[in-house]
């Protein structure tokens, strides 16, 4: 399950990829923070180059399998307007053993932030806004 969505993310939906025999399921949820570098954030907007982003998610999942072994991965990223406390991204990794699931989940979110064609604009409570690169 690899997708870009304008709807609010329901993390449990990603569990559909969990297979009988998987003993460890690791989920990462990215949540919109209410501050960045000491400035109060009033909202965010995300945009994506959707077909390329989805292909990048697929590539990242393949790489995770090559590196860490048999693991199922789901990645869903939300776009559009988000406010503090909302989920911007969910990554789920499910494997027979937990080490594989942890490694694959972390690899996937790190790579997603590093290279998936997705952009984030922060709007600040004190006015102004900024495109933020290199997801911290």
């Amino acid at each position: 399950m690899f997708s870009i969505t304008t709807e609010s993310i329901e993390p449990r939906a990603l569990e559909e990829i969990v297979r009988t025999g998987d003993g460890g399921v690791v989920t990462f949820l990215g949540v919109v923070r209410d501050e960045a570098d000491g400035r109060r954030v009033s909202g965010l907007s995300y945009e994506a180059f959707e077909p390329m982003a989805v292909r990048e998610f697929e590539a990242i999942a393949r790489e995770a399998r090559d590196r860490f072994g048999d693991v199922r991965i789901a990645i869903v990223h939300r776009i559009g307007e988000l406010s503090a406390g909302e989920i911007s991204v969910a990554v789920l990794a499910s494997a027979a053993h937990r080490g594989t699931a942890f490694d694959a989940c972390r690899y996937a979110i790190d790579e997603l932030k590093r290279r998936a064609p997705i952009w984030k604009k922060e709007r600040y409570a004190d006015g102004g806004s900024e495109w933020r690169a290199g997801g911290a």
């Binding site: 990215g30 995300y46 945009e47 994506a48 180059f49 077909p51 390329m52 982003a53 292909r55 990223h77 911007s88 991204v89 979110i109 997603l112 932030k113 590093r114 290279r115 998936a116 064609p117 997705i118 952009w119 984030k120 604009k121 495109w131 933020r132 690169a133 290199g134 997801g135």
Partner: protein
């Protein structure tokens, strides 16, 4: 919107190529829209497409250094040649997650 660009390097003896340009984030704002069509002479490169956009939107010039390009959904380089009908995406530094 369609920009027609006749490069001095490539006099337009042949019918021009039509390139679909997608821009995102800061570039989308600077270009005042996410999608446009460029007409470029046969043999033009990604660099030529960029120059055509800079000619109309000088503010993007300084973005060149940190812009990556994707041709038909695959990462490429500014040196890549373009073909008629190509989709060219100009990608500012990403920051999802």
């Amino acid at each position: 919107m369609e920009i027609r660009y006749d490069s001095p390097r490539y006099p337009s003896k042949q019918p021009p190529m039509r390139i679909r340009v997608l821009v995102f984030a800061r570039l989308r704002e600077l270009l005042d829209g996410g999608e446009r069509s460029l007409r470029l002479p046969e043999g033009a490169s990604v660099e030529d497409a960029w120059d055509a956009l800079v000619a109309e939107f000088p503010a993007i010039a300084q973005e060149r250094r940190c812009t990556r390009v994707a041709r038909n959904g695959r990462l490429g380089s500014f040196d890549d040649g373009l073909n008629d009908g190509d989709e060219l995406a100009l990608l500012p530094p990403v920051g999802g997650g």
